[in-house]
């Protein structure tokens, strides 16, 4: 089979674009979720859109599954390769095709790194707003597939708010284009449907992104709190005061301690939690807003307030937050990053729950949190070499995700379901809702060849999951409405 598929692809791809020997395919065995690994049968590295189409058509004709891959930084196993299929890497699509400063947009290939977009737009005073912490590595194709966010999405939106158009192919190799350089397109909003579809509906080969004028200036207020609850209330107070910060992030003490050692961002290590609250705009506007932010944060009980004095200091304050994952990686052999979203008012309750889980599972769990939009990233520290610890970690994570659903939130805010959270989809959605997702998939890909087995569980899988779960103590609040 492997020889047949590789041979077929070699009919139209050069030798360097088809990998099938273990030592060549090994680098593709996992994405950022390294607990899941599998060697792909064949890796295809096409260089033109026509080649992508040919790969899809050939695989479609042979009934071979295809998994698209960008930079492989995904944290839910979305790009986990198919053992019996082709891993389709878009890594060679690295060009900016058109940068149009007058129209404030860029047309780029899917393999272009997120941060590179803002780099090329910078000379025109423009930038691409969504800024995932992985922005120096992750690709725009992956961002589109995951609807990635960043620390500035409360004010500037997610990928779905900043992409105008995508072009690509369906699983059968049919050319499609969703969206437009205008602000809307006729018919259903297929662009919204494609963004965040985890590579299950189409392979994206070109993306048109919106560029925004870079704000004149930005400053960040760093506030310390002696109780996590107070920091949570302060977030609500900022919003209630009519302020929409450019960024509003929280880190608890275990997280600040882990990063401080690593980046020396100047965090208050005595604080139970710190908030980073950013204001951007004209100098006068920022001054006005920072004054109001300080007032509100002080009234909410901040024990210390610091405002960045210049750009270098602003970046230093952020450096710890942006480096939180690698920093945690230094204090523990492995970490497991969760990604639930909750209504902000339930923050204290969820953090207390996580603290209880730390005791229950005897594992540490620092928290970083996109506080402004309720997106929580608890990081469970463990040692993957100890299978028993990995098991405890997964059980810990599952309980936290289900807690997120229970308080009215969701199992994933920005990292996607992938293979990782597929069982929790059975908790968040009813069988009829899951069946609707599958019907949508079939409208795009009747043979279910594109990234199969990801994002949407089969009913059989949910039944099996339910059985295991009930044995393990039963679902909490199974009758709770999930909306």
């Amino acid at each position: 089979m492997q020889r047949r598929v590789a041979g077929k692809l070699r009919e139209f791809l050069p030798e360097r674009s088809v990998l099938w020997q273990d030592e060549d395919t090994r680098p593709y065995e996992c994405d950022g979720l390294t607990a899941y690994r599998r060697l792909p049968m064949v890796v295809a590295l096409p260089e033109t859109e026509a080649q992508v189409q040919q790969v899809l058509m050939a695989c479609h004709a042979m009934g071979v599954p295809v998994v698209p891959r960008g930079a492989g930084t995904g944290l839910s196993g979305g790009a986990l390769p198919p053992g019996d299929g082709v891993l389709l890497s878009l890594a060679k699509f690295m060009r900016v095709r058109r940068l149009d400063p007058a129209a404030r947009l860029a047309i780029i290939e899917p393999g272009v790194r997120n941060a590179a977009i803002s780099d090329v737009a910078a000379p025109f005073g423009l930038y691409y707003a969504p800024d995932p912490s992985s922005q120096i590595a992750c690709s725009i194709g992956g961002n589109v597939a995951e609807n990635s966010g960043g620390v500035h999405c409360l004010k500037y939106g997610l990928t779905v708010h900043n992409v105008l158009r995508v072009r690509g192919f369906t699983a059968a190799g049919e050319a499609i284009e969703f969206g437009s350089e205008a602000l809307d397109a006729p018919g259903y909003d297929l662009l919204a449907l494609a963004i965040g579809s985890e590579g299950l509906l189409a392979v994206v080969t070109e993306v048109t992104v919106k560029l925004l004028p870079r704000p004149e200036t930005a400053r960040v207020v760093m506030a310390s709190f002696d109780k996590v609850e107070k920091a949570g209330d302060a977030v609500a107070a900022v919003i209630a005061a009519g302020i929409v910060p450019a960024g509003l992030e929280m880190m608890d003490r275990p997280a600040t301690r882990a990063v401080e050692e690593f980046v020396h961002a100047g965090y208050d290590l005595e604080a139970a939690a710190i908030l980073l609250c950013e204001s951007d705009g004209s100098a006068a506007e920022v001054e006005e807003e920072v004054a109001r932010m300080k007032e509100v944060l002080a009234a909410a009980g901040a024990t210390r307030l610091a405002v960045s004095r210049d750009e270098a200091e602003r970046l230093r304050f952020w450096s710890g937050r942006k480096a939180a994952f690698p920093a945690v990686g230094r204090i523990s052999p492995d970490y497991y990053c969760m990604d639930g979203t909750i209504p902000k008012k339930r923050l204290a309750e969820v953090l207390n729950f996580i603290a209880a889980m730390e005791k229950k599972y005897r594992l540490r769990c620092p928290n970083v949190f996109h506080a402004g939009d309720g997106n929580l990233h608890p990081l469970i520290l463990f040692d993957a070499n100890d299978p028993e610890q990995l098991e405890r970690t997964e059980a810990f994570a599952a309980e936290v995700l289900e807690k997120c659903i229970e308080v009215g939130g969701t199992i994933t805010g920005e990292h996607g379901v992938g293979v990782e959270k597929i069982d929790q989809m059975c908790v968040q959605f009813s069988p009829a809702e899951l069946e609707m997702f599958r019907a949508i998939k079939r409208a795009f890909d009747p043979q279910e060849l594109l990234n199969p087995g990801k994002a949407v569980p089969t009913l059989a899988r949910c039944v099996e999951f339910g059985r295991r779960h009930v044995r393990a103590g039963g679902l909490r609040h199974p009758g709770l409405p999930r909306f």
Binding site: P101, G125, E146, T410, M436, F483
Partner: protein, 352 residues
């Protein structure tokens, strides 16, 4: 009222294979292709389910009046950022989302779909399904909630919607400038590339009006940078309402009204008839009796599409026909949501 009566109607109609025409306040009866089928009135399923100003989220049932929602938000100095047109006192939330129409603030703030966080629907089988949720970030499952915006009721009866809302800006000002169209477009696109707090724009007959919304200091600076003459607050407010609600004199009379959605920096679209431009140049209203083929071809050349928005005769089809690959996906989705084809058939495209 609970949703069961609506569910019952759908099940019964699906059994008989007879079309249902979903309707809230009827304020958008004119929009899209002609409605047909038995009337399914959504207005009894009304009420705000939850509103948390500090979460920036409001959830309400489909029959809730838009006016009521806006009043409740205004009490907390918040608003619907996409500034939806009502087109009549009876406009409901369900109709607003199904039509997917956004108002003057669209270019700067975003469209209806950008603020939809979650939705509960009854599909064409009468199944109650919930997608998305009440949180700002949610990537579990396909983004069906956003897909509903603009689907004109063809995928399901929208029972409940959760929206992201935003605080009102502390200050607002409107400027008037004398500019011919090409010059206005050039300036609008230039300003859009600079961090200026422009929240609406409208050009007609060599006159451009700009609305600025933001912090006091930002407005002061922008007034300085842009120039022109400041319009008195009250006059400005009624002007923007007139544009949003199409009560402005431009929209009066019987000539067909076309909506051209094009890239904001597209050159002036040369067509017979008068034009009013919004959204920094990305939306061009045209009053014209030119034939549909001519208008659609011109919009396509400009990089966009044309909708026959209001017209006594919509034989040419309200919306620009879809490319074959997209049409196939549309039919596939319609079949997934509404296999019997009973929900607002033909309202979006004649073939479904």
């Amino acid at each position: 009222m609970s949703f069961e009566p609506i569910q019952e109607r759908i099940r019964e109609a699906a059994g008989r294979g007879s079309a249902l025409r979903i309707r809230g306040g009827g304020s958008k009866d004119f929009y899209g292709n002609a409605p047909r089928g038995e009337l399914l009135d959504t207005r009894a399923h009304a009420g705000i389910v939850s509103y948390e100003p500090t979460e920036l989220v409001l959830s309400a049932r489909c029959g809730t009046s838009l006016l009521e929602i806006q009043e409740v938000l205004a009490e907390k100095s918040q608003l619907l950022p996409f500034e939806p047109p009502h087109f009549g006192p009876g406009a409901t939330l369900g109709g607003c989302v199904a039509a997917g129409l956004s108002g003057p603030r669209r270019a700067s703030a975003g469209a209806v779909r950008d603020f939809v966080l979650g939705a509960v629907i009854l599909d064409g089988r009468g199944q109650r399904l919930a997608f998305g949720g009440q949180v700002m970030k949610n990537v579990a499952g396909y983004d069906v909630a956003r897909l509903l915006a603009g689907s004109l009721g063809t995928l399901g009866v929208i029972l409940e919607v959760s929206l992201k809302v935003l605080p009102r800006s502390p200050a607002e000002a409107t400027l008037r400038l004398e500019l011919p169209q090409a010059e206005a477009l050039r300036k609008l696109n230039g300003w859009a590339g600079r961090p200026l707090p422009i929240s609406a724009s409208a050009w007609r007959g060599d006159e451009l009006r700009l609305r600025l919304s933001g912090a006091e200091s930002a407005i002061r600076a922008a007034v300085q940078a842009i120039g022109g003459e400041t319009v008195a607050q009250e006059e400005a407010a009624s002007y923007w309402t007139g544009v949003r609600e199409q009560a402005d004199a431009f929209f009066a009379g019987e000539l067909p009204l076309w909506r051209l959605s094009v890239p904001s920096n597209a050159a002036p679209v040369e067509l017979q008839g008068e034009q009013l431009l919004e959204w920094g140049g990305a939306l061009r209203w045209l009053r014209s009796s030119a034939d549909a083929g001519t208008v659609r071809a011109a919009a396509m050349r400009a990089g966009g599409h044309a909708t026959l928005f209001r017209a006594p005769d919509k034989a040419a089809g309200a919306f620009t026909p879809l490319a074959p690959a997209l049409a196939r996906l549309h039919r596939g989705l319609k079949k997934a949501f509404d296999p019997a084809g009973i929900l607002n058939p033909g309202r979006l495209y004649p073939e479904f």
